[in-house]
Amino acid sequence: MRTELVLIAAMAVAVCGCKRETRTFRESPPASMASDVAVSDLHPGGGNPPARSISPYEQNAWALNEGKRLFSAYNCSGCHANGGGGMGPALIDDEWSYGHEADQIYRTILEGRPNGMPAWRGKIPDAQIWQLAAYIRSMSGLAPKDAAPSRSDHMNGPPPENAAPRMIPKNAGTPPAAER
């Protein structure tokens, strides 16, 4: 009897730890704070690079899923082919031409990059770009595993994002130009 009571009490305590994930439909984007984004660790004058901005959406399954929905809705797959890459670079691997951090990806989408990536500034709302950035990180296992977007609708897709192997980014933060 004593043991059962202790067990019930323990469960009650554990249940208190449960949190319902919130879905924010009226997004206020994490500020257009990414005005100062470093794509490399090199910094002129030896100062410190600006602090990283973390996407608040990486820990929210619904927001990750919005990113996933928008990824096909805005035809990112047209060039990046569900992350495998085609005309554009692959997103499920460990190579990042312009950085793997959320704010760097945000910047890449917002401003475009040479040789094909168009700039989406003014075409995709800020909050949605952050959701896309969070989802893109989850594709190569960089987002936390406890939040996952919903399953893919296409047949024979890649493994679920939260089961994707974590790809340690190569040359993190160093653009190819700096290696030469």
Binding site: R23, Y74, G122
Partner: protein, 313 residues
């Protein structure tokens, strides 16, 4: 479009399919009523007249046999009526039809009026027009989850299944505006997923169809021109199409003839300037969870945009 003039009732059939379904409904209603009355009478009788003599097995056997036989016959009659209704509803002459491809989205309806000539096809949303007295073929499918097409005055329900197209026929014999509703729970805004079907004379229908086929009218006033520029340089074009402009997004409803529709957001709000303004700025307060993001437009731009949208007849 007022609520009073819009019908949504299974018991007010406006076409042959709905009439068959209504007849079956009334048959089942009267059979069920009779069964209820008879069973109640027996229960009351059994309570009032208690048995005085000992139970007799031969009488019991006859009673049980009669009861089972009556049940089987009743169910068989209903089964036959149901199958017959199903067959009757599925058969309709295929001559001179209008074909509409209807796709369910979370949470709105996309309709493409098919035509042998590709340039005569057109896309619209949330409102169907059909000619009275002519069969209409609906090819239904879904873009995301399972929805269900249900306009009670015209037909029964038909599920819209993602990746799978089915066809149903219907016909309206009485002109009117009939309200349809998604009848399969499809997410947060399932309740606000309405579809209005306007059944009208063949001439009125052809006029409507000719107009819908046209590209959007070019703005004639400066304000409308500026409003078009607001539309084209903002995020709107990512999801919405206005034929005749560079806006070609396919994620949201086609806005080419937005001003001809009576409601916005799949029957959620009347299509007035004020509601449209509220919807553009903050659609999430009217229909939380829908896929239209909030838009912060300067007041001047918003007014210009509304002026342009109101010209899209």
């Amino acid at each position: 479009m007022h609520a009073a003039s819009v019908l949504q009732s299974v018991l007010a059939p406006a076409g042959p399919q709905a009439a068959h379904i209504a007849r079956l409904w009334w048959l089942m209603f009267w059979v069920a009523t009779a069964v209820f009355v008879i069973v109640s009478a027996f229960v009351v009788g059994a309570i009032v007249w208690k048995r005085t003599e000992p139970r007799r097995d031969d009488v019991l056997r006859v009673a049980v046999t009669l009861g089972v036989a009556a049940t089987v016959v009743t169910l068989f009659v209903l089964l036959v009526a149901s199958v017959w209704t199903g067959r009757a509803v599925a058969s309709l002459g295929a001559s001179s039809t209008v074909t509409i491809e209807l796709t369910g989205h979370q949470w709105w309806w996309e309709a493409v009026y098919d035509d042998g000539t590709p340039s005569q096809r057109f896309r619209t949303a949330n409102e169907l027009h059909i000619p009275v007295g002519r069969p209409v073929v609906l090819k239904v499918t879904s873009h995301d989850v399972i929805h269900s097409f249900w306009v009670p005055n015209l037909h029964g329900k038909r599920d819209l299944i993602p990746g799978y197209t089915t066809a149903i026929w219907l016909q309206a014999d009485t002109p009117g505006i009939y309200r349809g509703q998604c009848a399969e729970f499809c997410g947060l805004q399932h309740a606000r997923m309405a579809l209005y079907v306007t059944a009208e004379s063949n001439d009125a229908f052809e006029r409507w169809r000719m107009n819908q086929r046209r590209e959007a009218v070019q703005p004639t006033t400066d304000n409308a021109r500026l409003g078009r520029d607001v539309f084209l340089r903002s995020t709107c074009t990512q999801c919405h199409t206005i034929r005749g402009t560079i806006a070609g997004g396919a994620m949201g409803p086609d806005l080419t003839h937005l001003a001809t529709r009576g409601t916005i957001a799949a029957g959620t709000l009347p299509n007035t300037r004020g509601h449209l303004a509220g919807w553009i700025l903050d659609s999430q307060s009217a229909k939380p969870g829908n896929q239209m993001p909030p838009n912060s437009l300067p007041a001047g731009d918003l007014q210009l945009l509304l002026t342009y949208l109101e010209t899209l007849k």
